[in-house]
Each structure stands twice: as structure tokens, then as C-alpha cells.
């Protein structure tokens, strides 16, 4: 086993040389850019194993959009990559920062204008709002098209975490791109949708709830799933 794995590790140079190759041997570990070093004694046995693995195994090259600063948020990076078109990361990141600023401005204004009793309830942190809104948009169960006896049925199916996160982000972005007024900026549309999703209102949450209802309605076909 070790020999076959070692064979895959042989330095194989492709005829076309790419600058940054995104398909790695699964032997390679993901890089961890954060600076926090937890002391030895606080680690659980699995984490200690992971640390030892890191000293032995090769690690993939870090992406140029990841920083070692705690300001770096992997969920935010994923969302920015999904919003990006034609590789224009600068524009996508600019839109995201403007969105965060708009959300914060609205909430801080509300905070300063509300009486002292209500101030605790106003959430001003745009990152917390973004994370919570995304959570509120994630569907729990999805539908898959299964063919049985010549017909296709919509079968309720569990979703993996990655798929749920992907669906939530995709719905947010398509909602903002398609269903809003033509002349509004993307950051305005996004901030409105995010604030609505944070309060469990708005079109994206409605779409998630419609999906849940469809899955509930098609409950009878659940046994068509074989995986």
C-alpha cells in the first residue's frame, strides 16, 4: 500500500506546466493559515494525531486569497468566489466589503436611534448577520430526480453540508441578480436580502421553505432512494 502511494508521490511533471494546480493527490493535506498555536497539553488525542500527520505529510500550496490574519473568514472567501465573474476577484471583494459596510451602517444607525432598553437586541456585527442569514437559508432536505418505471419522480433526499452551503449561497446570489430592480447596486440588493434572511423573511428563505414543503409532499416516494 505504501509503495503504491509512494509511486503517486513521484515528481511527475506534466507536459503543460500550470502555475497553480488545483488537483492534488489526496495524500496532500490542506494548509491551515491561522497563527494560533494551541499548547500541547490542551489537544485531544485526534488533534494530536493530526499535528503529527502535519509534520510528515506534504501540504498543498496556500491560495493567494487566504491570509494568516484572524480577519480572514473561509465562508466569506467561498461566497466571494461564488459571486466572482470572469475571475474579477477585486470587484467581487469590493462588492462584499460594500455590502458589509451597508449592513453595519443600517444596524448602527438603528442602534443609535433606539432607546437604551432596545439596544441589546440590535445586532451590529455584519459578520454575525452574514453567518446567521446563511444558516437561515440552508435547506435541511433536498429533492433528487429518480427514474422508476419510465417516469421521473422527485424524491426527498438528505443533503451533505457542502451541498447545503452551496445551495444557500447560490440562491442568495441568483435572487439578487435576477429578481431585483435593474438600477440598484449589487451591494444594496445583497444587504437587503441578508438582513431579511437574518430575520427569517425574504425571498430566499421562502424558496427554502417551498423546497421543504415539496419534500414533505413527496414523502411517499422516499423509499425510491437506494443510497
Amino acid at each position: 500500500m505504501a509503495a503504491s502511494v509512494r509511486y503517486l508521490l513521484k515528481p511527475w511533471t506534466p507536459s503543460l506546466c500550470f502555475v497553480r494546480w488545483s488537483r492534488y493527490n489526496p495524500y496532500y493535506l490542506d494548509p491551515d493559515p491561522s497563527k494560533d498555536a494551541v499548547p500541547e497539553s490542551e489537544l485531544s488525542p485526534e488533534q494530536k494525531e493530526l499535528q503529527e500527520l502535519k509534520t510528515v505529510r506534504p501540504i498543498k500550496a496556500a491560495l493567494s486569497s487566504d491570509t494568516s490574519s484572524p480577519f480572514n473568514d473561509p465562508l466569506m472567501s467561498k461566497f466571494i468566489n461564488m459571486m466572482m465573474e470572469d475571475g474579477n476577484k477585486i470587484l467581487a471583494r469590493g462588492i462584499m466589503t460594500q455590502t458589509l459596510e451597508t449592513i453595519k451602517r443600517r444596524q448602527v444607525e438603528k442602534y443609535h436611534k433606539s432607546p437604551a432598553a432596545k439596544r441589546e437586541e440590535v445586532e451590529c456585527n455584519p459578520y454575525a448577520i452574514f453567518h446567521q442569514a446563511l444558516e437561515n437559508c440552508k435547506p435541511i432536505i433536498g429533492l433528487a430526480s429518480v427514474q422508476k418505471g419510465g417516469k421521473f419522480y422527485q424524491v426527498p433526499v438528505p443533503l451533505t453540508d457542502n451541498r447545503r452551503r452551496f445551495l444557500a449561497m447560490k440562491w442568495l446570489i441568483t435572487e439578487c441578480r435576477d429578481n431585483k430592480h435593474r438600477r440598484t447596486h449589487m451591494y444594496e440588493k445583497l444587504s437587503q436580502e441578508l438582513l431579511a434572511a437574518f430575520a427569517n423573511e425574504g425571498n430566499v428563505v421562502k424558496r427554502k421553505q417551498d423546497l421543504h414543503k415539496m419534500a414533505e409532499a413527496n414523502r411517499a416516494y422516499a423509499h425510491y432512494r437506494w443510497w
Partner: protein
């Protein structure tokens, strides 16, 4: 504000008293100071707000501290004068706070000591992009307003040399061009700022068209209304207003007629640069051929008395100037420099350590820095590194953190 009040503030046990001073000072705001001020650790001993609201009493003791401009003053004095991002900040924080910084204090101290029977001194605020020139100018203007001067504020001269939708040939002179929209907009804002001076009597007779003319001895308010209502002649009205004020500023003897004139122009390098406006035969317009610019240039000459000319350079809106240019020589060009000389240059640097500290604490107090890492020591060091203590870059960074 006297010395022993300040000394009592700096004593570490007295954070409660400090809160009391702050609430007293900014009278109208009812917000309680949030618990973050107790986190202005006693070891730092930095006090970022001052209760001294009158710019005339600001001195070196108040450097780095924020003072609040009353909302009534903001509405009257700055209908168009504040930078757009600062206006957003005023709206978000529900208060308009400006930091007291050395360049503004320098300007105000000059304004206090000058002899106003002599021709006016020209002050030029220069510095790197985003270092606080416009806000220092606004601070000095607030001082002039509280002293009862007549304010002539052109918020950005660059707006008059570019992006003009309507460029009409002048009604009075054949080789000039008028900009009715910009002129009438400016006259409206001038009216809001200087309400109490509008009953001043004017001297000469002006003829606008065959049937319209303004007689001698009519109040200034009527002239301004004429410009706002009749868009066609608004640029000429601006010229007439400038001329009248120039003649009358030092002219009248002490008593009810006397007033001091503060001419404040931001982006003064636009007056001697190039324009992006085209004439009907598709050739470029010179700034000299625009009525508004021509009259403003006349205002910049120091052949009148009884006031001061406060200006600030600006690379951000300028045309055909490199991004790295910030010195008066580079931005004004030869012609501009010769026209403006002799002037008093006032340099506006980036924040010092103390000022940065103060700005950071202000944002913490206003609940603006939300990211948990930005509230820690390493986060602060990161902010210093990323912004190089430049006020506008720091503001833009903290906006999304």
C-alpha cells in the same frame, strides 16, 4: 476648559466623572455612553472627547480630541460643504464629531491674530490624499461661523470644471461660457448659510436683460433670489455677488454694516488646471473662459480687505495630475502658484500616535468596530499597518470590519 478640570479627568479613578462631562457637553444627545468607555483602560489614560464646543476656545490641549458640531450648525453651515463619506458618518452615528488637529488649530490662531484692515492672507492646506485637509478647512470655517463672519464656501472647485451637462454661451460676454445648474445650486446653498446677511444693501445697478435689472440700494437677498429663479443669468449673478461682497467686506466702518468675509475654496488647483469641458466646435475649454472660474480667480487676488482666503488643494478630483502629486507647486502649476503667491502653506500630515489612538477609541465608543479581532491589541496593530495612520484609509478599513 480650565486646567484643573482636565487634570481631574486624567486621574484614573474618574472615568465616571468623564462620562458626566461628556453628557453635559453634547447637550441634545441622550445616548448613554456604552460600557466600552470603561474599557478605555485606565492605563491608557486617553480621553478622546472634549466638552469644549466652541472652536474659538480650542487649543493644543485639545489635540486629538473630538468635539461635536451642533446639528443646527451642520444644517446651516454645511448644506454642501462636508465630504460625502463624512456626511454618511454623521448620519450613521447620529452626531457630527470632528477631531481637533494641529493644522486647524494653526489656521484658527492665525485668523485670531490678523489685522483685518490689511489685504487678506491666503492660506493653503496641503498634504497627502486623505490626510484631512477638507475637514480641517471645515473646522476653521466653523470657527468663522461662530464668530459671525460671512461664509463663502465652494466645496469643490473641481465640480465646476468637469461633468457639466449644460454649457451655455454667456448672456453678457461673447467669449465666455455659463454653467446655470452649478451656479444656481451654489446660490441656493449660499442663501442657506448666510441668511442673516441677506438684508445687506448693495451698491451698483445690474442689468440682466432688456426688461430685468436690479436697482441700486436693493438688498442682497433679492439679487440671490434673482439668480436662483432665473437660471440663464445665474452665473453672472454669482459674479455680481462676489464683487459686491469684495467691495463691502472691509469698506463699511465699525457698526452694524461691518462684516468679515471668509472665502473658502476646496480643490483650488482646479482654477488653474485644465477642464474636460468641450465647446460646440469640439475644442477644449480653458478655465479662463468659464464665468464662474473667472470670477472666482478675481476673488483669489488680495486687492480687497477685511477677511481671509482659506483654501485646500485636492488631488482626488483633479484633472490630468498624477496620483503622487500633493505639493502646492505640483498641483497648482506655474500659473496657479504665481497667482496664489504669497500664501501661507499649512501642512496636514497623517494621524500621529495619539490621534490614531483617539480615532480608534471613538470608533469603539460609537460601536463601529464590530469584528472581535479588531478590538484586540493585534487587531489594532494590523489596522496601523494597513492604513499607515492615514485618516481616510483607516475610515474605509473600519467600515467593513
Amino acid at each position: 476648559m480650565n486646567l484643573h478640570k482636565l487634570a481631574s479627568r486624567l486621574r484614573p479613578t474618574v472615568t465616571q466623572k468623564f462620562r458626566h462631562f461628556h453628557i453635559q457637553g453634547s447637550g441634545q444627545q441622550l445616548e448613554a455612553v456604552v460600557g466600552e468607555t470603561s474599557s478605555a483602560e485606565p492605563s491608557l489614560l486617553s480621553v478622546f472627547r472634549t466638552s469644549e464646543q466652541d472652536p474659538a476656545c480650542h487649543s493644543e490641549r485639545h489635540t486629538g480630541q473630538y468635539y461635536t458640531i451642533p446639528p443646527a450648525h451642520i444644517q446651516k453651515l454645511f448644506p454642501h460643504g462636508l465630504p460625502p463619506r463624512f456626511q454618511l458618518q454623521v448620519k450613521t452615528f447620529n452626531e457630527g464629531c470632528v477631531m481637533v488637529r494641529p493644522p486647524a488649530l494653526e489656521l484658527i490662531s492665525y485668523l485670531k491674530r490678523v489685522d483685518y484692515s490689511k489685504p487678506p492672507l491666503r492660506y493653503i492646506l496641503y498634504g497627502d490624499t486623505g490626510s484631512g485637509k477638507t475637514l480641517s478647512l471645515c473646522h476653521a470655517l466653523h470657527y468663522c461661523y461662530t464668530q459671525g463672519w460671512l461664509i463663502l464656501h465652494i466645496p469643490d472647485a473641481h465640480l465646476w470644471v468637469k461633468n457639466c451637462k449644460e454649457l451655455l454661451p454667456s448672456s453678457s460676454r461673447p467669449s465666455r461660457f455659463d454653467q446655470p445648474i452649478q451656479a444656481s445650486q451654489w446660490l441656493k446653498n449660499f442663501k442657506i448659510t448666510n441668511e442673516r446677511f441677506l438684508s445687506k444693501v448693495q451698491l451698483d445697478r445690474y442689468v440682466w436683460t432688456k426688461r430685468e435689472s436690479t436697482e441700486e440700494g436693493r438688498p442682497l437677498g433679492e439679487l440671490v433670489d434673482q439668480g436662483v429663479n432665473r437660471m440663464k443669468s445665474s452665473s453672472d449673478v454669482v459674479g455680481a455677488v462676489l464683487r459686491e461682497l469684495r467691495l463691502q467686506a472691509g469698506g463699511a466702518t465699525d457698526g452694524e454694516g461691518a462684516f468679515k468675509l471668509a472665502v473658502a475654496v476646496d480643490g483650488v488647483n482646479a482654477l488653474w488646471g485644465k477642464t474636460t469641458l468641450k465647446k460646440e466646435d469640439k475644442t477644449m475649454c480653458e478655465p479662463e473662459e468659464l464665468t464662474l472660474i473667472h470670477n472666482l480667480r478675481k476673488m483669489m487676488k488680495n486687492d480687497w480687505s477685511g477677511g481671509a482666503i482659506l483654501t485646500a488643494l485636492s488631488q482626488t478630483g483633479s484633472l490630468f495630475k498624477p496620483r503622487s502629486a500633493y505639493l502646492p507647486n505640483e498641483l497648482l502649476g506655474e500659473e496657479g502658484f504665481d497667482n496664489m503667491e504669497p500664501f501661507v502653506p499649512v501642512s496636514v500630515p497623517n494621524y500621529s500616535e495619539k490621534e490614531f489612538e483617539s480615532c480608534y477609541l471613538y470608533y469603539l465608543d460609537r460601536n463601529w468596530l464590530q469584528h472581535p479581532h479588531s478590538r484586540s491589541e493585534e487587531g489594532k496593530k494590523e489596522l496601523i499597518f494597513l492604513s499607515n495612520k492615514n485618516p481616510s484609509i483607516l475610515e474605509r478599513l473600519c467600515a467593513f470590519l
